[in-house]
């Protein structure tokens, strides 16, 4: 790029000016474009392509059409992972949103020590998931772990929390709620601080109860924030698998596996990259669907542009 680009349109003819503009813009975009294409766009297309092929032992690729999709439809672990993803989302999202709202309302008040409260609620957000998993793994350890020690005090026997298909998902859900609620809190806090205090004062003057004011005024006004947080939470629920590597490896008997974790296992433990591509296509479709909803909705919001 040279300095002569700045020539004013008066000196040059408009057409060549536009041409120079475009050259400059594309040169500026070039480094980012190369990397985006190499690690986002090309991989997406390659994933789709590879889902229609299988790799022979001798390294040649064979077109198999929808075969991989058929075996996926017949794969109980795939369905298990999908259903688990659904329960994981349903278990974590509403509760962490409700808690986040409660936290934000408290922190927004002129309460004693609210700086400390905000700090306490938000801290889990900055911790690595892998460290969090280590700490919580110990809570759930049978007999020796903290949870069983507490239960022992009131006379209960030990329980293999993460080793039992009926409790493993709930244990992970509780941990993720702890990790995420404080993050969602800050969006509610920002929204609450933009609400006019007049509304609540007017409601108070009218003699409305706090609960009534919340239900009929505050909560509806926070609806855009709730939708926004919910959509982000859904996207997160598809990406969050770090803890599985440490805590359960998807077990027992696939009771805690999630789609991305299953993709990781198929690709890097079972070395079946063709099937992993097929599974990734499902994840891409799910994410795009959520994203379309998100952007369709965000487009109508003021802060977007």
């Amino acid at each position: 790029m040279s300095d002569q680009v700045v020539i004013s349109p008066v000196v040059r003819q408009p057409r060549s000016y536009a041409w120079w503009n475009a050259v400059n813009a594309w040169l500026l975009l070039l480094p980012a474009t190369v990397l985006l294409v190499a690690f986002t766009h090309y991989p997406i297309l390659a994933t789709i392509r590879h889902s229609f092929f299988i790799m022979r032992r001798n390294g040649t690729e064979v077109f198999v059409g929808l075969d991989s999709y058929r075996s996926m439809a017949a794969d109980p672990i795939f369905w298990r992972a999908l259903v688990n993803n659904f329960w994981f989302a349903l278990g974590t999202i509403p509760t962490s949103i409700a808690l986040a709202l409660l936290m934000a309302m408290w922190v927004n008040r002129n309460m004693r020590g609210r700086g400390f409260l905000r700090l306490a609620y938000f801290t889990p957000t900055v911790l690595p998931m892998i460290a969090v998993a280590n700490i919580w793994l110990f809570f759930y350890t049978p007999d020796y772990g903290l949870l069983d020690q507490l239960r022992g005090l009131i006379g209960f026997a030990g329980w293999n929390w993460l080793g039992d298909p009926s409790t493993v998902m709930s244990c992970l859900v509780v941990m993720v709620i702890w990790k995420e609620a404080g993050f969602f809190m800050i969006f509610y806090l920002a929204a609450l601080q933009q609400l006019s205090p007049d509304l609540e004062e007017a409601a108070a003057v009218e003699g409305a109860s706090r609960w009534y004011t919340f239900r009929r005024i505050t909560f509806p006004l926070l609806m855009p924030t709730t939708l926004f947080v919910a959509i982000n939470a859904v996207i997160n629920s598809f990406k969050l698998v770090d803890h599985l590597v440490i805590m359960t490896k998807g077990g027992p008997n696939n009771a805690s596996t999630l789609l991305l974790y299953y993709i990781y296992e198929v690709a890097f433990t079972f070395q079946d990259s063709a099937y992993a591509a097929t599974l990734t296509v499902v994840l891409l479709v799910l994410l795009s669907t959520v994203a379309l909803i998100k952007f369709g909705y965000l487009d109508r919001r003021i802060h977007y542009q």
Binding site: M1, V5, L36, H41, V126, N134, L146, W178, A190, I263
Partner: protein, 269 residues
């Protein structure tokens, strides 16, 4: 609303806060006491740094720290440079196809490199970079989020300032450097904090592309160290866990407000 907080609510808020801090407090307790006191909380329990010393000696945590710092710095610098150039193109140049190009950039906000692990692994393999620190960084260097955030900031730069610089004879890159970049400082700080925390904590992709001590970041090192088959003492694992999260936690305690605001801007994109 100030006068109307019920005392019970204050108590509930504090209880929740203590409950929220408990797992972290517990990690510190266990890391700073002998293994015998891992689950018995007694005021007379002796304090010790022994667990840290043993964790540090049993695994190359010094190297892991070094790798993570190199990784985080590499990613941050790459992201800042590439996002600045790209955002400048989108914010101030009118050219054919800019709309489509921008939409293609935004695609990365929805489909992050985190989920394209299979093909990205293949790509890194083709490039011959497996098990290196640049391999961990490469998929993240072009950040749609950074481009988006900076484009918004750049668009709000007053045109008069740009004109003034132009009259003085500044070229496009000079204008970018002298006018746009200084005015976008708060955005750079916000983006930087989010990027550093994200990549300090990132785990799955580094786990996949690295398999040696020389390339492994802290998170992966911790996972390898704490794996049940290694049979390492619980107290030592928590010491390692505390070591992994300590720098970020410390930075957060120091710059709490900036962290919260940055995470908020990162979320509302």
């Amino acid at each position: 609303m100030n006068g109307r907080t019920h005392p019970l609510e204050v108590i509930a808020a504090w209880l929740l806060a203590l409950l929220w801090l408990a797992p972290l407090a517990y990690a510190f307790w266990s890391a700073l006491h002998p293994a015998a006191f891992a689950t018995s909380f007694s005021l007379s329990a002796p304090w010790t740094l022994e667990n840290f010393a043993r964790a540090w000696n049993q695994a190359p945590f010094g190297r892991y720290y070094f790798n993570t710092v190199v990784l985080v710095v590499l990613i941050l610098i790459g992201q800042l440079v590439l996002s600045t150039l790209a955002a400048y193109a989108f914010a101030r140049f009118k050219f054919k196809g800019s709309g489509i190009a921008f939409a293609l950039v935004l695609l990365q906000l929805m489909i992050m490199p985190d989920v394209l692990i299979v093909e990205n692994y293949r790509m890194i393999g083709t490039l011959g970079l497996l098990d290196t620190i640049p391999a961990i960084a490469l998929p993240y260097l072009a950040s749609a989020f950074g481009i988006f955030l900076l484009r918004q900031t750049f668009k709000s730069v007053p045109q008069e300032l740009v004109e003034a610089a132009r009259v003085e004879g500044a070229g496009p890159l000079e204008i970018l450097w002298r006018v746009y970049v200084p005015l976008a400082r708060p955005t750079y700080v916000a983006f930087g904090l989010v990027s550093v925390s994200y990549h300090w904590n990132n785990f799955l992709w580094p786990l996949i592309v690295t398999n040696s001590v020389e390339a492994r970041p802290l998170t992966v090192g911790l996972a390898v160290f704490g794996a049940p088959e290694t049979g390492v003492d619980w107290s030592i694992i928590t010491a390692a866990t505390v070591m992994t999260m300590a720098p970020l936690l410390f930075a957060f305690l120091l710059f709490q407000r900036q962290f919260v605001q940055s995470f908020m801007r990162a979320g509302i994109r």
